[in-house]
Subunit: 846 residues, 2 copies
């Protein structure tokens, strides 16, 4: 014996020093079960330090563990890492069996069972500990045990070890070494564990699950892992010992609710005990646990308990239920749900329990699942919608003209594009499942076929889009409905109470606004107005305006759109009932409103009564090499100021109208694509003039807030100047990312996969905010703006507003709110709450 022997194995008793960092989660969990006085067999914890020494060749002193064989004579050895999902070497059962114990067991549980236990251990020992060829230890039938023992002796030139202490020492050595191997390291690194993570081991006396009376083994859990609803599930297998020994023929359901024989009926007192254990474990372990148990002649042994694995929706329901029952505080319930998981709750999902018919994969651009018939054009989608048929719009990529087609579809699939391509952004806004960048597809829009590998699909064929996984499935998959239930609502309420930055929604339409309110958005942070001009009633006036030669003619064309715009805004103000609404002035280049094909041009020439050559020329003249960096946003606002004049008027008239009917409205007007302070000054002057005119004409007073969308790197750098003229700044991180990287989100899809795959970019910067580059510009902008005007409101609108990591960054950056697609509001809300809770925890621990 030496000085370390005492620490080599610690018996798990209520008062023993068992520490998760030293002994692992399983040892700690078992100690809790022991403290709850559950019938846990005698167990010993071996610390990570000891395991490390064993791996380095030190032998465990047999005396330290001799006691564990005092019961049945059989023991199990299980891994006990710091976190359950870091894995570990496989459990080894039945350690301790030898010729003499075998003989004793024959008397207790019969020849067959005793043979089976001995055989199982010899096979396991030979292959996992002695590392002999597994193919040589597949013995079966009446002489299997004798053959296995002989085979072992032949191979090892020694008889099978008869000393239980020696068996155990070898098992421990083998498990310790396996944890140190390169494969195990890689596997646990993939789970987020450090490569040299510690491993503890648990050695436990085994209860026999074979023999006379009620004997067997089983698991029990108390919730449904898919829904999270309270429901007892599990199995009990009579005469089933360890993973492999025993007939297991008498498999029982647990409750009498099931259609078949159940433990509840067969052994009601055992069932009652198990339920009692479950309730106690949930309270003491503060978690829904699955309990593993053995019944020996009617006596229960609880041998292990693990956290129930669960779906996204179950995770919400469980967390809320634990908190409601007072088991955990609200903050802890919030921390236990992965924000991203909430997105799954808002939509239909493919049932994970049913096998899938995969035909292609792409980027999971908008979550949820839907089944519909393939259509290849926006027009076909609209016809299908009119016929009442669910359809999936399949395009190489979508363009603004496709929006109505997207509205008419149940899901969208594109061959090109990335997470922030047009299709992806619009689909998320509409809450439609969407897959983009499905590069394995070949779409032939003329032939109306879709080739995916060997399969050729035609227009009208049914497919399912799983936007949560990026999988395109053949036919109609089994779908689970959305889970906007009571637990979901409760969690959002708690999230709101937990504080953190506010969350608003990007909402362009009344439908969006209604969704935003349903998800408790604190207002609209970004209302894009351009889609409003694609309407069939408005497009002609818009085109007339583009072709007008004088400001006066432009004004006249826009006057026809004014009442419709006013109605757009009135409706939004009414729905939001006094919550702030930030309206971004017209942003896209004008050529988006013009046709580019021959027929469209001819039609346009006719309707404008202009020669085709003139119309063609004008359309060509407006075409741009790089529309993203062209004549749009405030540049249009300054060179064609009539558009902003009309929009400002519509906003103010709607403000007066809505304020007369309901809560007073203070609209927020946002100027896009600013790169210089003077742009803000010029637009401000004109908007102030429009406000004065409307106040005068309508004999009504109102206030408004004018702000700037910071989307160019220059605007971020000049945020100090710009803040001087702005009530708020909103960082449009989509465009800011595009310009900081020099990367068009519409074109990046083609190589983003390669780039992230090769680690050129750690993450897709359109998905997760790039803290090193874009983030620095954002922080610079925030600092300079606040220095110039401490009272300024600062926000982030764009796809990053819905990304949990990015929200944590915004929280730290002292941003007032984020704004994201309505369907991402719950995710953002929870992420914001978690950031706030983390900050408080960091403060408390300081």
């Amino acid at each position: 014996m030496n000085m370390h022997d005492i620490s080599e194995a610690t018996e798990i008793t209520p008062s023993g020093r068992i520490d998760r960092a030293d002994h692992g989660w399983r040892a700690k969990c078992l100690q809790r079960l022991v403290r709850m006085q559950l019938p846990v067999p005698r167990s010993f914890a071996i610390s990570a330090d000891t395991v490390r020494m064993i791996a380095q060749g030190r032998r465990v002193h047999p005396d330290a563990l001799r006691d564990v064989f005092a019961g049945s004579g059989l023991v199990s050895v299980r891994p006990s890492a710091v976190m359950p999902d870091w894995g570990g070497p496989g459990t080894i059962l039945n350690v301790g069996i030898n010729d003499s114990l075998h003989e004793r067991l024959v008397g207790l549980i019969g020849q067959d069972n005793a043979d089976a236990i001995y055989l199982a251990f010899v096979q396991s020992y030979a292959t996992h500990i002695a590392r002999l060829d597994p193919d040589m230890f597949t013995q079966d039938g009446p002489n299997a045990l004798a053959e296995a023992l002989r085979c072992y002796r032949d191979e090892m030139d020694a008889p099978f070890p008869q000393d239980p202490a020696e068996q155990l020492a070898e098992v421990l050595r083998s498990m310790a070494r396996a944890w140190d191997g390169p494969t195990a390291r890689l596997l646990r690194q993939a789970k987020g564990a450090p490569p040299d993570a510690p491993l503890g081991l648990v050695v436990q006396e085994m209860a026999l699950a074979l023999g006379p009376g009620l004997c067997g083994s089983g698991t029990i859990q108390f919730i449904d892992p898919v829904t999270g609803a309270p429901r007892v599930t599990g199995r009990f297998r009579g005469q089933h010992h360890g993973a492999t020994v025993g007939s297991g023929a008498e498999t029982l359901f647990l409750t009498s609710d099931e259609r078949g024989p159940s433990l509840q009926d067969t052994a009601p007192e055992i069932f009652a005990d198990l339920v009692r254990f479950g309730i106690a474990a949930r309270e003491r372990l503060r978690e829904e646990m699955q309990i593993e148990f053995v019944v020996t002649e009617g006596r229960i042994s609880v041998i292990d308990a693990t956290r129930v694995t669960r779906s996204s929706r179950a995770s919400v329901r469980i967390a809320v239920s634990l908190a409601r029952d007072g088991v955990i505080p609200h903050d802890e319930a919030l921390m236990r749900v992965e924000p991203r998981a909430l997105a799954d709750l808002l939509h239909h999902q493919v049932d994970p329990r049913v096998p899938r018919k995969l035909i292609a994969r792409g980027i999971d651009a908008s979550p949820g699942a839907a089944t519909g018939r393939i259509v290849f054009s926006a027009a076909a989608a609209q016809s299908a919608h009119a016929r009442g048929e669910a359809c999936v719009l399949v395009r190489r990529e979508t363009v603004p003209e496709d929006i109505r087609g997207m509205h008419a579809s149940v899901a969208v699939l594109t061959e090109r594009g990335g997470t922030t391509s047009h299709a992806a952004v619009i689909a998320r806004g509409l809450g439609l499942p969407c897959i983009v960048g499905a590069t394995g597809l070949a779409i032939d829009a003329r032939a109306r076929t879709l080739r995916a590998g060997d399969q050729l699909l035609h227009e009208g064929d049914e497919i399912t889009i799983d936007g949560s996984s990026g999988e395109v499935l053949a036919g109609a998959a089994t779908l689970l409905p959305p889970a906007l239930d009571d637990a979901f609502t409760q969690l959002l309420d708690w999230a709101a109470e937990a504080g953190g930055l506010d969350v608003r929604a990007n909402a362009d339409t009344p439908e969006d606004a209604i969704t935003a309110r349903r998800f408790h958005a604190k207002g609209i942070g970004l209302c894009r107005t351009e889609h409003m001009f694609f309407d069939a009633e408005r497009l002609p006036a818009m085109r007339e305006m583009i072709f007008a030669d004088s400001p006066e003619d432009r004004r006249l064309s826009l006057e026809r759109i004014l009442p419709m715009q006013r109605k757009d805004f009135t409706r939004l103000f009414e729905i939001m009932a006094g919550l702030p609404v930030t309206i971004r002035l017209f942003d896209p280049p004008l050529h988006e409103f013009l046709p580019h094909d021959r027929d469209g041009l001819r039609e346009l020439a006719e309707s404008l009564d202009l020669p085709l050559s003139h119309v063609t020329r004008r359309v060509e003249a407006l075409t741009e090499f790089n529309p993203m960096l062209g004549m749009r946003g405030v540049r249009l606002g300054i060179t064609v100021p009539e558009i902003y004049d009309m929009q400002a008027r519509a906003i103010f008239e709607a403000t007066v109208e809505a304020s007369r009917k309901g809560d007073p409205v203070v609209p927020e007007i946002m100027i896009p694509l600013v790169s210089a302070m003077r742009e803000v000054e010029l637009v401000k002057t004109r908007i102030d003039a429009v406000a004065a005119a409307v106040r005068n004409e309508m004999r009504a007073d109102f206030t408004f807030r004018l702000g700037v969308m910071v989307e160019t790197p220059r605007a971020a750098l000049r945020a100090g100047d710009i803040a001087a003229h702005s009530a708020f700044l909103s960082f449009g991180t989509n465009d800011l990312t595009q310009m900081t990287y020099g990367l068009s989100r519409d074109d990046a899809g083609r190589f983003m996969g390669t780039y992230v795959g090769q680690g050129v970019y750690a993450e897709d910067p359109f998905h997760v905010l790039d803290q090193d580059g874009v983030g620095e510009l954002l922080l610079t902008g925030v600092r300079r703006a606040r220095q110039q005007k401490p009272s300024i409101t600062l926000s982030v609108c764009g796809e990053h507003g819905g990304n949990p990591e990015s929200i944590a960054f915004c929280h730290a950056a002292d941003i007032d709110y984020v704004s994201c697609s309505p369907f991402r509001v719950p995710v953002a809300r929870l992420a914001a709450a978690q950031s706030a809770i983390r900050s408080r925890m960091a403060c408390d621990s300081e």
Copy 2:
């Protein structure tokens, strides 16, 4: 009298205290003439303080100026601002005339002359001092004087003032007030003067230029204002007094070289005196002066001397000549030439002395002038060139395919685009005069006509492009040849001696490289390699590469281009003879190498032996929404690495070849469009491998330097990381400006005019580096790169490299060198020298 009287008027004597800041440039200049003992009439300087007080109502004490009337009795009053070009109120002559002086003058110079002087003053006084209606003072003929005096009395209810002191006081008051008026303020602000700039006045006794003997007035200067060559020019008008009085009939040339009567012949001693005065003035005033003089009965009076106005080329010749003669030091000669002026010397110029037939205006995109026949396509330009006809390529805008047509043209004119559009950049590189953004033109390429206002021009019509002024002229204008003379070369040599940052050239072809050397470039700072792939011999292999399905097939296609690329680089290395050559790896998106029209696609399909649909599909798939932000530069280098492999191999093989023949070559390889450090690491690994392979195969050793073009905001922010893997960083400020502003240079032309006009941007940021935004990123990049690696070479390549203000900024930013179009190298060299001299002066004065 009061305490200020002494300072009210200071007689200009050799020892009097005349200060330019107090009394203005003219008073100071006159004092210098007085010190040179030139026959300057008695003169008094009135300080700016006094003028300010006069403007505020204070009257000048008459005694202070009474003496000035002691000579002829007539005086002039001239403005004397701090700088000559700040302007000032008009000169007032003949102050002091009244009935009694008139009577005396009748006896001296005759009735008509005396009447004329009196009349001139009454008219001038009435309109400029009494502010009466000028239309009432147009009297002419025998009774004009009496009528004018009566008219004055009628209007003013008082007789014409007879006290010379009172006249003078009124004149001073009026001039002082005029300087304070809003119009005068705006005018001088336009010249760069502060709005409250001081004004001195000069009161001078007038010499009579009328009367018996040789009398008259004239100007003389000693250099040709267009060429700067030594040549006496000017006029002498006999019997001509003040601007308006006298017959002036006897106008004489000055020298006997002229075809007509001359002062040199008529009065050789007077001419000799004037030449003597001129030589003395040049030496003492350290400048080429124009002297204004009056001859009274054979006696010369020097009444004023002003700096000769001069053309760009004259400014160079004058400065060099003054310095060579030891009148001024070299540094001062360098400071006296406006760097931009040098650009005019490199090209033909429209003779400023000949009237112009203007037909349209555009943006002056590349300086110089050329006459040629209009062609509307690159093909037509090449045919014209083959026929030996000079032609001007007229396009809506140019695209890479037009480059050969541009080569074949003498000038380029485009309807669209801005200073950094494709046409502008290429034309500057080729040294071709170019006008872009001539929005007043309507090009009909099919009808082959060009409409400019009312004029319709056809293919083959002759026009002249003045790329220095942005004017399109009808027909063949008179052109001055380039002036790459001895003075120009001397100035560049001095500029090189003056130090400052180095200047390299952007050179893509052997011709560019030869030009670069001719202009003393210190190497090639940017060799763009993409144009090399448009060659008829290479394009097919390039297209084959684009359509290849495997890396191996791509490699095979590129292998056909390898020997040509190697030859490209060998030739450049040979021309540059050991000077550094920075080669930028392939940058543009692949779709630039594919046809987009139907015929081109069909041809391509045939040559590749692929179905048309396949080719069309592939071309469409490669098309991008925003090519500027797409799959180009290092992104292509990483996803299609075979291109960079081939280029690196060509560079290294050329290095070995050229080093064997001449000076050892250390090529610099530059990676474009980097936004993340990892991109550099990945490319570096492959290039190192290619280098190792070439060293091994060719059994030769060589070194090379790998660097990064910093053109995305993110690369500037991450310059620290990136520097760790780079031998040099070159800031590509064109693209950096595009991305920082979110502004495509190809599309900005459409509104840049409005933007700069309305002061939204102070200057076109593609023309003058935006110090507040792009400049901050540049400084950040410089700081972080130097911090990481103090030895790193930092440069700016791009259009800003040739802009004087931007060079001053680069100098201050501690940039090692700038690189610009070969034809801008002299401008940049001079600007760099000036920055260095200014720094030294600032140090000295500390």
